[in-house]
Symmetry: C2
Subunit: 204 residues, 2 copies
């Protein structure tokens, strides 16, 4: 598709590099932006520029951060003895949204997946083990594995547990079972079977 | 959702302003950009900035353009006596892609649609009539109506025809009928019915 403007062509090509955005969607986005007030477009442009230049990853938990250490790791209200291991930044936010967790995080940056070529060295595993071994910045008493309940997540859980157990830290994992609000009739067999095997004392 | 970085939050909010992009998709896009080389993100940012500052609309046909007059209107290879009226810039590109048209265009910027609050004054109709009346920048012999084959498109066609006929210009519209490659069995009744009524002499 030949566009009658090189400025537009370049914008379409750049937008088409976004995941899930093809050339047709990119053109629709670009033409939408043409109709917007230019202040809004400049704001978007500037926000993206800062994304490239101003953002850091926390040196402790590898979550996104404005500074060297993220607000969660530097908060005095959080319990640094508990570290929750998650796949990515989205998962940190999902757990933060529950408002049920007051410990710290460790973002692996993925899960072990030989099919996708993701090995142990591609993940932030060594820094997790160092955090537990050295007790720096704070001694760790418990590591919660909160990885996806997939084959790759389970593989990573298994590997992490094997590495963490010898360090004398308590290793736990998030509960798996029937989702709250779900009918048993529509719950998949594996989840339902495990939720019966892993039943817990009644709580009111 | 509280993000642990204000830079990221601002980028997500700006991206969520795009059509069809909610906060979740905006977060996914922003986190994708975080993983990209910063040169690519800066390129995207810069392309969008130029979209706000460098783009113009052709003063003759209202299509997007780098300069005051678009490459189509200023091309000596195009026939300025034929003007094709289309709804938007995408339609110019769709017709250009057919490589079957050598005249000029006139982008209305929409079609008459009282439900959406789009009236005659919101569209580039007056400038089309002026183009035909004054013969500036070139005398117009034929106006091809190539608006969508919807109720709104038909209403606009009807209005334009009524305005154009008294000016002594030939008014035509694009052919409607069975799509090429379609089976008659799956063609909707209205299209098939009209294609029989509007049959044309056989051409080999």
């Amino acid at each position: 598709m030949d566009l009658p403007s090189t400025t537009l062509t370049q914008a379409v090509e750049a937008l088409a590099g976004l995941p899930g955005v093809g050339r047709r969607t990119a053109l629709r986005l670009a033409l939408h932006l043409l109709k917007e007030p230019s202040a809004e477009v400049l704001n978007l442009s500037e926000s993206l520029r800062r994304l490239a230049t101003d953002i850091h990853f926390c040196r402790i938990c590898h979550c996104v951060s404005d500074g060297e250490v993220c607000p969660i790791c530097s908060s005095p209200k959080r319990n640094p003895a508990i570290v929750c291991v998650v796949e990515n930044v989205q998962d940190v936010m999902a757990i933060e949204n529950t408002q049920q967790y007051t410990g710290l995080y460790h973002v692996l940056g993925g899960v072990i997946s030989p099919i996708d070529g993701v090995g142990i060295r591609d993940l932030n595993i060594e820094s997790l083990l160092q955090r537990v071994k050295t007790g720096d910045p704070a001694p760790v008493e418990e590591v919660i594995l909160a990885l996806p309940t997939t084959m790759e997540g389970d593989t990573t859980n298994f590997y992490l547990n094997k590495q963490l157990q010898p360090l004398g830290v308590k290793v736990t994992m998030i509960a798996r079972g029937v989702s709250i609000g779900d009918n048993l009739e529509y719950t998949d067999e594996i989840t339902l079977g495990r939720s019966i095997l892993n039943r817990v004392p009644f709580e009111a």
